[in-house]
Symmetry: C2
Subunit: 416 residues, 2 copies
């Protein structure tokens, strides 16, 4: 099985060189043509998708999994529109910042350039196939896609349409390469191709990501989990606090930017925690609290050490009363996952300190943790999220798929 | 031997949290105090250095190695002044760029933050101990230093002075941690501490770097070698070209930004290559050329495939005549090391294409390859250079030791 991967990856690297030189106008024309082709070939996509759904039903996939897998004309239109939105974004490639003249006389700047070849390993949502391909193309990168086996035929249909458009525009189909089978061994082989792939972005559960990190010789952009806190400072405005807690926990509990722990300053707790807990409980939230919160509110279960570490991804919230700001920041530092942390405060000074003191990829003052999302943060589409600091930290859009090189303009200067 | 490393690394991570919150004024005060203390304790440093020199002489180190190891009052003053220059640089930490209001009403920006704990593994120059510590402190990072065994006592003396100053300023000595012995096994243990160290920067020969990359579970910023080209385009101005070729090859042939291959457009070759080669030969440069260049010039040895790949680091230059721009760019793409590439041209259009088309961390028009250096590019001091694209590409200064997180300022916004 090793034979086919190296030539495929080599063709992809060659294609990346072609893409790196492409101007914005041509890249956008290709993206718009991809969007149109997806809509025009809806029947072919649905045919592949039906095969995956049949297999999924026979294999007893859950209704939730089948729903993630399902495509229909409306969802395909949504995928096409996401590609159009990526085409409409500004192109970072070639942008030069900070062109300055040095004492030697040379002018020095930084130019944004593509990364090269991106490897994306993801689970069953077929829309990721097109999103990832479009974001990589926009940033001038080639991509090797390895989607989940449940969506194999859907992904092949979608990628096939993208490849046809690339070829119709005199580009190599290898710009968007898909692995030929869903053999798991191929993933491990892909992770050894450091001569061809510049970075691996795994999207999926913690198990997938740990497997990729443990086996990859290529740099990996990783995101294990989101244990997000909201800290209600002594001067929190209850009219902001209550909606932010409810929104953070209840609006979509199964995602990584949902709240998992509420930290409450003791003065706020005495005054408002009973009303907050009661409002949460009315929304069906189970609360696991420290001793003080148990003494203040009804129906709270005792929290254990494991609750402070938990990413519930469900309607459970851990609650802890803290005596001051420092204790809250210390708790976040100990149990947080560097994903998203929120403070509710009316004090500019406290807000400024929190923004500096808390080490997380997204730090929020007086807004819901649910805003920690590429779209809401202004990135347009999102290729993934990084909770480690190298290269990129937080949600990643087109710019995170590029890097900067130095450019120097001289007039014949030599070094003495 | 495993026992001591984990508590040391844990103390260093704890110290990093302290440093991350330090304001610029205090960081600069510490740096200036370090510079003063280095000069005030010159005798202690020279004592440690004398021990290393004695051992080096008994072990038969070359004169060049002994010279790299040697410290004297003037060199110590130079090290102290480098620290003062780092103190004088602007502090990237806390800088917020691009604060924009989103349709939801939240304001979103990016704030520069320290990386955390930097691991530096380097060979025998003792000045790296102080340079690296000062750059990491400036960027708010703690650092674990593992210097070469030849400089062990010099490094311990220098780091000891730095640690005394840190403690005198109520900071943990663990902000600048040195490994307690030069046991090579400790390096391998250090490379497993991904829970404590955020990034490893190896500085040294290709062998050291390959060892670190192969054995590290921590992301590595790497720089294997510099196979730098100068391409003389058809319209090159000979009055610029000749000095740039001589300067690139001869001024300091043993460093990574020296020229290794000269590519000459055939029209320039016919007119000027004999004079260029003769000028190089007068400077003692051995020339290995393609068939056309051999036919045009005297005293050129035939180049083989391995010459196009060679990083000579000595007074040897490979020369190849190319028929056009595309052939030159193709040669660079095939044999270059993504370090530094130079074009000499009078055409704005050709210069613009070269800047875009050539994939290297530093791309230069009409200036010497020798400008590819942190100081010359305006970074102040340099902690290393990256020829891979993740996180940083090219010479790395203080900013490359930081990353950006998202900061969000709201007014109570929730997501619908």
């Amino acid at each position: 099985m090793q034979a086919p991967l190296i030539p495929m990856a080599a063709a992809c690297r060659q294609a990346a060189r072609q893409l790196a030189r492409l101007d914005s106008g041509r890249k956008n024309a290709v993206l718009l043509a991809i969007a149109d082709a997806l809509e025009a070939n809806t029947d072919d996509i649905l045919e592949g998708n039906e095969m995956d759904l049949d297999t999924g039903r026979s294999n007893g996939l859950s209704q939730a999994m089948l729903d993630r897998l399902l495509l229909n004309p409306e969802r395909i239109r949504g995928i096409a529109n996401a590609v159009r939105a990526i085409a409409a974004q500004s192109d970072p490639v070639g942008r030069i910042r900070q062109l300055e003249t040095m004492p030697s006389g040379i002018q020095v700047g930084r130019m944004r350039v593509p990364l090269g070849v991106i490897g994306i390993i993801y689970e069953s949502r077929p829309n990721v196939t097109v999103d990832a391909a479009a974001l990589c193309l926009k940033a001038g990168n080639a991509v090797i896609l390895r989607g989940g086996s449940e969506a194999f035929h859907s992904n092949q249909a979608l990628a096939g349409i993208v490849q046809d458009v690339l070829q119709a525009h005199d580009l190599s189909a290898a710009c968007v390469t898909t692995l030929p089978t869903t053999d798991r061994e191929l993933v491990n082989e892909m992770l050894q191709l450091e001569a061809y792939i510049d970075v691996i972005i795994p999207r999926g559960g913690e198990g997938l990501i740990r497997h990729v990190v443990a086996n990859s010789r290529i740099p990996v952009i990783k995101h294990y989990k989101g244990v997000c806190h909201l800290y209600a400072h002594a001067d929190a405005d209850i009219d902001k606090l209550l909606p932010l807690v409810i929104n953070g926990k209840v609006q979509r509990p199964g995602v990584c930017n949902a709240l998992e722990t509420l930290l409450v300053h003791e003065s706020v707790a005495r005054q408002h925690l009973p009303a907050i807990c009661s409002a949460l409980q009315k929304q069906g939230v189970e609360i696991r609290g420290c001793e003080i919160s148990q003494s203040l509110c009804e129906g709270i279960l005792p929290a254990s050490e494991s609750d402070w570490e938990a990413e519930y991804l469900s309607l459970i919230l851990a609650v802890r009363v803290v005596k001051d700001y420092d204790e809250a920041v210390e708790h976040i530092s100990r149990y947080g996952s560097q994903h998203t942390e929120v403070i509710v405060t009316e004090s500019l000074d406290t807000a400024q300190h929190f923004l500096r003191d808390v080490d997380a990829s997204v730090v929020i003052v007086n807004a819901s943790s649910r805003f920690s999302d590429g779209g809401e943060l202004g990135l347009g589409a999102e290729i993934g999220i990084s909770t480690s600091k190298l290269h990129s930290y937080g949600p990643m859009g087109v710019e995170a798929l590029t890097t900067e090189k130095f450019v120097v303009l001289g007039h014949g200067e030599t070094r003495p």
